[in-house]
């Protein structure tokens, strides 16, 4: 089966007046059609850059200095303006963090939705779509302006617009970050249901492991501009083979016992200005050896998933005594 999305050693720099920042340092990722992938990373990991690179939605000061990203075998960086517009419109659907920022505040909802449906849309199609995303009283919603809707309703509209043309890939960047906890699950359930129905692949960018565990088949963990671990989410979260994945699972509150002290990851995430010498996590890693500081680790197959770590086997073994599984 040919992969839908292939990012190969993608390297992207941001050129700013204050200096150059390396946002992606050789990021490699594949995604099969119809699968759901959780892309996990903290700020500075490059996950947003990778997510936006899929639709070539990078800021004007971004430069691709190496590697490539292809969808259906065609590089998004080689497309001309028409090509990329067509790709974004027909094959991709994006859902961003803030629904209010994604909607035009001066245009009624109905009109915006009809734009996303395209030229062949009839009036009823708008209502059908709004109903499909779980909104009631669709006539009222269609006549409303974005600021008249609640955050949850607005996000549903955005989701509707993203799936309107049955994309092959939906990218959601922290879609529930600005929403209340009690409707977060509703929104994610909706996204997953629509994804299944459309047969689309799905990438969920999130910093929360538990959310990814519940909704995504695969997980890719990012650190320092690279994908450091990529595999089936149940496997990765039960038995992480990368020290960062493991440290992240240990550091987050939620699974500890009453009175137990959490151990945060010492140090701070790196800000790269060029390729990292050695492993970018090494300064904070408790498995780090000399080799780790000197030589960049390459992606290898360990325990059924892809890991970028010299010491992956040792990390995998150390997990046997820890229960990360859902209790």
């Amino acid at each position: 089966m040919t992969a839908l999305l292939v990012a190969e050693d993608l390297t992207i720099d941001y050129i700013t007046p204050r200096g150059t920042v390396r946002a992606l340092d050789g990021a490699t990722l594949t995604l099969e059609p119809g699968t759901s992938l959780g892309l996990v990373g903290e700020s500075g990991s490059g996950k947003t850059t990778l997510g936006m690179a899929i639709g070539r939605l990078l800021p004007s000061y971004a430069r691709r200095v190496g590697g490539d990203l292809s969808i259906d075998g065609r590089s998004v960086f080689a497309l001309d303006n028409d090509g990329i517009t067509t790709l974004r419109r027909d094959r991709l659907g994006f859902v961003f963090q803030s629904p209010m920022a994604a909607l035009d505040p001066t245009m009624r909802i109905g009109r915006q939705v009809s734009f996303s449906l395209g030229d062949r849309a009839r009036g009823d199609d708008v209502f059908t779509l709004l109903r499909k995303v779980g909104l009631a009283d669709v006539e009222h919603v269609a006549r409303a302006y974005p600021h008249e809707l609640s955050g949850g309703m607005a996000q549903r509209v955005v989701i509707g617009m993203a799936i309107a043309r049955r994309p092959s890939l939906i990218v959601a960047d922290e879609p529930t970050a600005s929403l209340d906890a009690s409707i977060r699950d509703q929104i994610l359930d909706l996204l997953m249901a629509l994804k299944e129905e459309a047969g689309a692949a799905f990438i969920l960018l999130s910093h929360e492991m538990s959310v990814v565990a519940r909704y995504c088949d695969m997980i890719a963990v990012m650190y320092g501009g690279r994908v450091v671990e990529h595999g089936p989410s149940a496997d990765v979260l039960n038995q992480p083979t990368h020290p960062y994945t493991r440290a992240l699972l240990e550091a987050a509150p939620g699974k500890e016992r009453a009175g137990q002290r959490l151990s945060p990851i010492p140090g701070v995430p790196p800000v790269l200005s060029g390729p990292s010498t050695g492993c970018s996590f090494a300064p904070r890693c408790r498995w780090a050896e000399d080799l780790c500081h000197r030589t960049r680790p390459m992606a290898r197959d360990v325990a059924g998933r892809i890991t970028v770590c010299h010491r992956a086997e040792a990390v995998a073994e150390a997990c046997d005594d820890n229960a990360f599984a859902e209790n």
């Binding site: 700020s43 009690s182 910093h207 509150p253 009453a258 945060p264 859902e326």
Partner: protein, 313 residues
Amino acid sequence: MTTPIIDARDVAVDYTSGPPWDQRVTNAIKTVTISIAPGETLGLIGESGSGKTTLGRLFLGLLAPSAGSVQFDGEPIGPRRKPPRGQLSIVLQQPEWALNPRLRVATSVAEPLSILGRMSAAERLAEVRRSLELVGLDASFAARYPHELSGGQRQRVSIARALITEPRFIVFDEAVSALDVSVQTQVLNLIKDLQSEHNFAALFISHDLAATRYVSHRMAVMYAGELMEVGPADLFYAKPQHPYSRALSVSISLKDADVFKLKGTVADVSPVGCPLNLRCPWSIDRCRADKPVLRGLGEGLTACHRAEEVAAA
């Protein structure tokens, strides 16, 4: 029985908004009675519209209650009767705007002391250095500007500012919500350690149950301006006794997912009976007719008719 540092009795807060001919009244807080003992951290969880932020502002004397009273160390407080300066502090959410971008870190951290006006500039600077060290930042940070710091570092500076007058009560309003997970845990540990060393009382407001129960001694859950459950943090590690508390902990434990999932949105507040009865999967006729009051059950207080069953599920 020592005087609680904060004692709120039957407080309610109404906001009026709109032009004089079309006034609209919003009940931010319907009725809350709770107290915080000296040296205790009370975790307050709720979603948007629950009234938790308003309660925090009330405890700092920034708002006046429309009903009931708030006392700080036995004395009533409010916007016209401010509590003694330097005894209370706040640490807020957005690291981006927590510090004045035009002022150096040292100036921001020293401000509460400048307002008290009791020290010389040199003495203040020494206190700033001491405070920065307490939060794990070395003295070189004093001369920097906020934009040179990361989110986690700015939050630490906010905490340093909050501590500098050795207050007796600090409100942490979503203080870690905007931070990355690994930085969040660093700051949570910092708050725990500082509290056990300096013994201030604290109100930790958050929507995140996991983070809150980690730092708190006692927890309170709010919904639509009222308390749903109050109890020791251990209770929230084991099994909370209110369906809403259980629903909030769904994100932590998959087992509760189907049994406690809420329907609808925060806007579906029921005006009669239990405010949650439109959304709660455990709701029965009695919940619509009869408003549950906060009552003792086991280790804590809960406002639910079916709490015993919930506790067993």
